[in-house]
């Protein structure tokens, strides 16, 4: 059973078509990243999954249960974007409160809360009022409340927002550890480098339509473009690497050249050729692109007439 299943999801607000027939499936144990510009429909989709917003059309299931049933949220944790804790709570009392609401027993809360506060790095401030916290501390508390009841599915909307570089690394490590525990994580983030590092699969949503969806590996891979590094300057070799021997070449440094080929056989033929010319290869790397590049390219593409 998939952890998350969305079929033909449509959401219309007054005058706004937020989601236009989105389909999505996230398997158990997967880390899924949803990317999109502000207002693309990312948060709406998460809120529909959690029953916070009602869908206009379509079928949605979270752990096999429709979100209109509170049972669907029994094993789900959520960190909303711009969350606001009641500031009369301390971190400890807030976790006590949310833990009880999530159905945790008093004993389980007693055991889990101190550990979690330590894990997110705010144990020292556990008994201070939340109103005295910095944004980063509130974010850490937000992550703690989402993970409190050991959920099977975790929705994180901008989890590293306001967190410093060290904190971001800690959160990333935490998510990787959760993945090792076979937890399903649904991540909304603007920090594409982060998504690239953590996620198994990524979806790019634009104006309520899923524009692209694939594994990070596939999305960032560029077919038949390689960077070759040599012992010495490639200057004398460049005329021989021009078409038709290759599909194109570009000097990237004194001893580095990027070549485009039709297939792997062609690449091997080129390697054999340059060696016969006395150029020894010290490095060969298949060219990739960053997720950011993929994201920008995807959003720059004209619409192909997705869901109405």
């Amino acid at each position: 059973m998939p952890a998350i299943e969305i079929n033909g999801l449509v959401k219309r607000y007054k005058g706004v078509h937020a989601l236009k027939g989105v389909n999505l499936k996230v398997e158990t144990g997967e880390i899924y990243g949803l990317l999109g510009r502000n207002g693309a429909g990312k948060t709406t989709m998460v809120k529909i999954l959690l029953g916070i917003v009602r869908p206009t059309e379509g079928d949605v299931k979270l752990l096999g249960v429709h979100p209109s049933s509170p049972k669907s949220r029994l094993k789900v944790g959520y960190l909303p974007e711009d969350h606001r804790f009641p500031d009369y709570h301390t971190a400890e009392s807030a976790l006590e409160y949310y833990g009880a609401l999530s159905g945790m027993s008093a004993a389980a809360r007693r055991e889990r809360i101190p550990k979690l506060l330590k894990d997110v790095g705010i144990a020292d401030a556990a008994r201070r009022k939340i109103r005295t916290y910095s944004k980063g501390m509130k974010q850490r508390l937000g992550i703690a409340q989402a993970m409190l009841h050991d959920p099977e599915v975790l929705f994180l909307d901008e989890p590293t927002d306001g967190v410093d570089a060290v904190g971001r690394k800690e959160i990333r490590d935490m998510l990787v550890a959760l993945k090792a525990q076979k937890k399903t994580i649904f991540l909304n983030s603007h920090l594409l480098s982060e998504v690239e590092l953590i996620c198994d699969r990524v979806g790019i949503i634009e104006l309520g339509t899923m524009k692209l969806e694939d594994s990070v590996k596939n999305l960032t891979k560029v077919e038949n473009l390689y960077t070759l590094t040599f012992e010495k300057s490639v200057e004398p070799l460049l005329p021989d690497l021009e078409p038709p021997r290759t599909k194109g070449c570009r000097r990237m440094g004194i001893n580095v050249v990027e070549v485009a080929v039709e297939d792997v056989d062609k690449l091997n033929a080129i390697i054999d050729f340059v060696r016969t010319k006395g150029f020894n290869l010290t490095g060969l790397v298949g060219k990739t692109q960053t997720l950011e590049e993929v994201f920008i390219q995807t959003l720059d593409k004209p619409s192909e007439g997705g869901a109405a």
Partner: protein, 448 residues
Amino acid sequence: MKYIAMLKDSFLEALDCKSLYVMFVISLLFIILLASMSYTQQDAAGTIRDMTDTFNVVHGGRDVGSFWIRSYAVRYNVDGVRDLGPEAKTFAGGWEFTVSLLTSDDPERRKTDLSDFYRLVRHWDGTERGMVKKQTDTIPDADKAPPPELSARFLRSMFLLRQVPKVTVEPVATDPDGATFTVKIKPWSRQTFAGAYKCHFLFGLVSFPLTGMSVAMWVFGIEVLLSQYLAGIFGVMIGIVFTADFVPNMLQKGRIDLLLARPINRSTILLYKYLGGILYAAITGAVFIGGSFLVLSFRSGVWNWGFLASLGTLVFFFAVLSSIGTLVGVMTRNTILSIVAPLGMWALGFGVTWTKNQAKDLISLFRVPDWLDRTLEIFSYFLPRASDFNVANQYFMRRYAVGDEVLELMRQQERLPQVPWVTTLVSSALFILVMLSAACWIFSRRDH
């Protein structure tokens, strides 16, 4: 567990805005004021004279808002006050004495004095028999001298109404005017003997006799003031103001998401927020009413347990108003409107009840068509009815203040305001149900 957590959250919210502390401090100030009251016993003969000085009025009007009173220029002599028991000095025994009408030596004036007394007795008799209901009704046989037995019954009734349940009044046969009586009385308790005590306030700085009033009635009056006016008006208002932001705060963007992502029904979340407000009112009310009750009771010896019941009526009334605030809070997410709406409805309900009572008088006086009365009657069923809650409140308190015997007498004389239990409870409960159902329906269907 989750339900307790939700109530605890509301309690923390109230603690954080310091409103609970403010309420506790205000309560403490009143409790100290009440603790500054003490009572000393008066002379028995003087007390009896003071009491008989008040036997010159007739009052009527059974319904709220239609009470009337008529006083006559009648005064009495009290002679030969004699102790009937060893405990007489402590007001626990009894007394025998003669009560006679005080008349002028001038024959013409004496005639007028007697005529006033006879008219007073006839007027009282007319109200007893239900023949005089309004001030404007004609008094039957007003100018005829009543039989001495009737005058004796009048005096007996006057003693009874002043919480002296054991009383015998015999006309003295030798008085041709039928205006002299032998009386034996035994008060119900020391505290219920009208005029028996002097009150000292502010730890003795101010002293005054409780003329014509028993300590029990004095305490009853204070308790009415505390529960009906201080707690019932100002306390409820402050409670509404302090709890009005519970729902709008909960609905704040970023905060509501954290709640709705939990495995709890939305209606449950809202209802427990509402109950959190009720809990706040119950706690502050319990401190105020409970503290006042203990201090008043210890200082006066009058343990009016009915006063504690007023906490229930107060909280119930607060629940009615708070349900309006909850609905408006869900609809608008605005704290100011959540304050204005319940207070406005309260004022409207008060206005309708007042107009309804006035309309009744107008109808009877000028024969105005009763469509207005009917319309107001129907309208009043759908609004918070503060006056009915006040009547219910007094019902409990009066029971302990005057005792069962006097209460029974008042009931026989139809001098007890009728408590519209069914309409008050049912219409108020239905009102809460409708408000909360609407609030839950909107909250459940809304996107956040």
